[in-house]
């Protein structure tokens, strides 16, 4: 069975290899690229995207999609900023902010499960709603000057000569918790089972409805937490924050080797997917002469490569059924 186990990790290995290759390319071509701080900066600048991508991984593993994540980040940043502006203590503000995503997630998950609506359309409505609500709070940017938020934003945790931010620690905790949740709990197994074949999962007596609602709640929570981390990063609330972020998150998950039809994929892959998106941006910054839109084209090309690769390997392997039992 050992060769089969290896095959299971192929997409993950390819993603990781690609990341290493891109990094090597940068190190050879640009001075200062190979500094460990550049790697740590990938985490610092993309901590919120890692958190969102983790939540999105569960949604996509179950065969669904969540388009609302970017808007939930905007709404969280807006609520946080406006409550802080009203002189409310962060001890109250942060729990409220963290509740926004889960509440929206429960509502979306219930609509999807109870009325059999399409995740695409329901989360699209969630996206409109969250973005609209943040505009209703204010159409202007609200700056944050609260000392606690300044502290969270500016504290550097030193590792030798290099540093990371508190947000990176939050992201790492989220990733570890998510890996545990995906591979060592009943919930995780149910997610994979639903993504593999919802009908079979139902016939096996798995709690499909409950799991589905929980998945969207979890993704909502991740978005809210990411919104908070994003707020630390930007130190402001704005209705246009994280516009189009859902696309980056979906791209990271796909590049990370998760099948968009559900059932196959890894949380760790999505993290590497985010890092690859980060490396592309860093490469373009170091190159200096390339304009920012090359990022989009590069992401598009990568998406194409991975999707075609997935398609070809699934045609050859058709090993989808075997995977569920292995977890």
């Amino acid at each position: 069975m050992s060769w089969q186990l290896n095959k299971k990790y192929y997409p993950l290995l390819i993603t990781f290899g690609l990341f290493i290759l891109m990094f090597l390319y940068g190190s050879i071509n640009y001075t200062g690229f190979s500094s460990p701080q550049v790697v740590l900066n990938l985490f610092i600048d993309n901590a919120f995207l890692i958190i969102v991508a983790v939540g999105m991984t569960f949604v996509i593993l179950s065969g669904g999609i969540d388009l609302s994540v970017g808007s939930v980040i905007a709404l969280t940043s807006m609520v946080t900023a406006s409550l802080l502006q009203a002189n409310i203590s962060p001890i109250i503000v942060i729990p409220i902010a963290l509740l926004i995503g889960p509440i929206l997630g429960v509502i979306m998950g219930s609509l999807i499960h109870f009325y059999n609506l399409q995740p695409f359309i329901v989360t699209l409505a969630g996206m409109f709603l969250a973005r609209g609500l943040s505009y209703v709070i204010s159409v202007e940017t609200i700056a944050i000057s609260h000392p606690f938020f300044q502290f969270m934003a500016n504290t550097k945790i030193h590792l030798g000569n290099f540093y990371i931010s508190i947000s990176v620690l939050i992201a790492i905790v989220v990733v570890v918790a998510a890996i545990f949740l995906a591979h060592y709990t009943k919930f995780g197994r149910n997610v994979y089972a639903i993504g593999g074949n919802e009908q079979s999962a139902l016939l096996m007596g798995l709690p499909v409805g409950k799991t589905k609602i929980l998945i969207y709640t979890l993704s909502g929570f991740c978005s809210s937490l990411a919104g908070l981390v994003f707020t630390f990063y930007m130190l402001s609330g704005y209705g246009l924050h994280a516009n189009g972020l859902e696309l980056d998150a979906i791209a990271a998950v796909v590049i990370g080797g998760t099948l968009l039809t559900g059932g196959i994929g890894y949380v760790a892959g999505s993290v590497i997917g985010v890092l690859i998106l980060g490396v592309i941006q860093t490469l373009i910054v170091f190159e200096g002469t390339l304009s920012s839109w090359w990022t989009k084209i590069a992401i598009g090309v990568l998406l194409l490569l991975f999707i075609v690769f997935q398609r070809l390997s699934s045609v050859r392997g058709r090993s989808k059924t075997g995977l569920i039992s292995e977890h």
């Binding site: 999609i65 009325y115 409505a125 609209g132 505009y135 979906i250 968009l260 989009k296 084209i297």
Partner: protein, 349 residues
């Protein structure tokens, strides 16, 4: 009448328009000024033209159980290349040649985009939502590449005719919508193509076994969707006499999908309603116009949209009807024979 899928969309459209009457008694008045028809209704149809066009293309894609997320980017690409062609062509030429070159370039690029999506879906067999996601991300980058990230302004009279001109007192864009809608309706109602599309959407494998070339049907609908988005992009960029690779057609794919769903076409494929989608697009446009005209802050536009989406989807969901609407509807009718058939997608009549 109640059975018609068009019933609810039309009612919703009429309600939205009627709300305006409360706030502006002259809302339905149409006047002729300088030989042009003017009025709020004309305005809604004129501004809604790109969305109507794209919804028509999207309807056929969705009917084959697909989805085209690339249309927003195709709008940006089409507008950008048309504008750049005009800007380059104008230096040497003041005749109509740059206009036709721009149209040819825009439509060529859009058809290429449609072909790309169609090949990925039909030949390589990638899930439509993923296949078209590639163009959604990369297309906007390509559009910015074409315009070099700038907003290009065009000073060329013939080009603004496409989106801002009038022919026999009616906005020219309305003719474009009518033409595309006419072609689509003719092809799907008067030829077997409509039946083929429905059948591919209901079950591609069974359709193939029945002798339908499923792959080419799928390729065709993505080509058509690309074409519609290309024309829409021309109208949009010509209307504002500029091209903006970053923001032109932003979120149009979502609005178009919304229009199609409001119009009664199920995302599961199968039966489709071109007129429904056109009415859906008009609903979205009149919602926007209404929000502006009755003085609700425009920020709430998105919230209203979200609520409308959910209500329309719930009304179409068989589960919702059964759980919430059925108990009250049970007495007058003893049974509703049609419902289960609709869900299947194909009802060959």
């Amino acid at each position: 009448m109640l059975k018609s899928r068009l019933f609810w969309p039309v009612i919703i459209l009429l309600i939205i328009l009627a709300i305006n009457l409360f706030f502006d008694p002259g809302f339905f008045k149409i006047e002729v000024k300088n030989g042009h028809l003017t009025g709020s209704l004309v305005d809604i149809v004129n501004r809604g033209a790109p969305l109507m066009l794209i919804s028509i293309g999207m309807t056929l894609v969705i009917a084959t159980k697909g989805i085209d997320l690339g249309v927003g980017s195709v709008i940006a690409m089409s507008g950008s290349i048309a504008a750049m062609t005009v800007v380059q062509g104008m230096a040497s030429d003041t005749s109509l040649t740059p206009l036709f070159m721009a149209i040819a370039a825009a439509l060529g690029l859009s058809l290429a985009a449609g072909l790309w999506n169609g090949l990925l879906v039909s030949r390589i067999g990638i899930q439509p939502i993923v296949a078209t996601l590639i163009l959604m991300v990369a297309g906007r980058g390509i559009a910015q590449l074409i315009t070099d990230g700038q907003i290009t302004t065009i000073y060329y009279e013939p080009y603004s005719f496409i989106g801002g001109g009038y022919l026999f007192a009616i906005p020219f864009s309305v003719y474009l919508v009518a033409a595309v809608l006419g072609i689509a309706l003719y092809m799907t109602k008067k030829t077997a193509l409509g039946l083929f599309i429905q059948s591919v959407g209901a079950n591609p494998e069974a359709s193939r076994l029945a002798g339908i070339n499923s792959k080419n049907i799928i390729l065709l609908v993505y080509l058509f969707s690309g074409f519609c988005a290309g024309v829409g992009g021309l109208i949009l960029s010509s209307n504002v006499s500029s091209a903006d690779g970053n923001n032109a057609g932003l979120w149009f794919e979502l609005d178009a999908i919304l229009a199609v769903v409001i119009g009664g076409t199920s995302l599961m494929g199968g039966r489709f309603f071109l007129m429904g989608s056109v009415i859906g697009a008009l609903i979205i446009q009149s919602l926007t116009t209404t929000i502006y005209s009755i003085g609700i802050p425009p920020e709430t536009n998105l919230i209203v949209k979200a609520v409308v989406v959910i209500i329309v989807c719930l009304l179409q969901s068989p589960e919702f009807r059964q759980k919430v609407l059925r108990p009250r509807m049970k007495k007058p009718h003893k049974k509703e024979p049609e419902n289960s058939l609709n869900e299947q997608g194909v009802k060959i009549s």
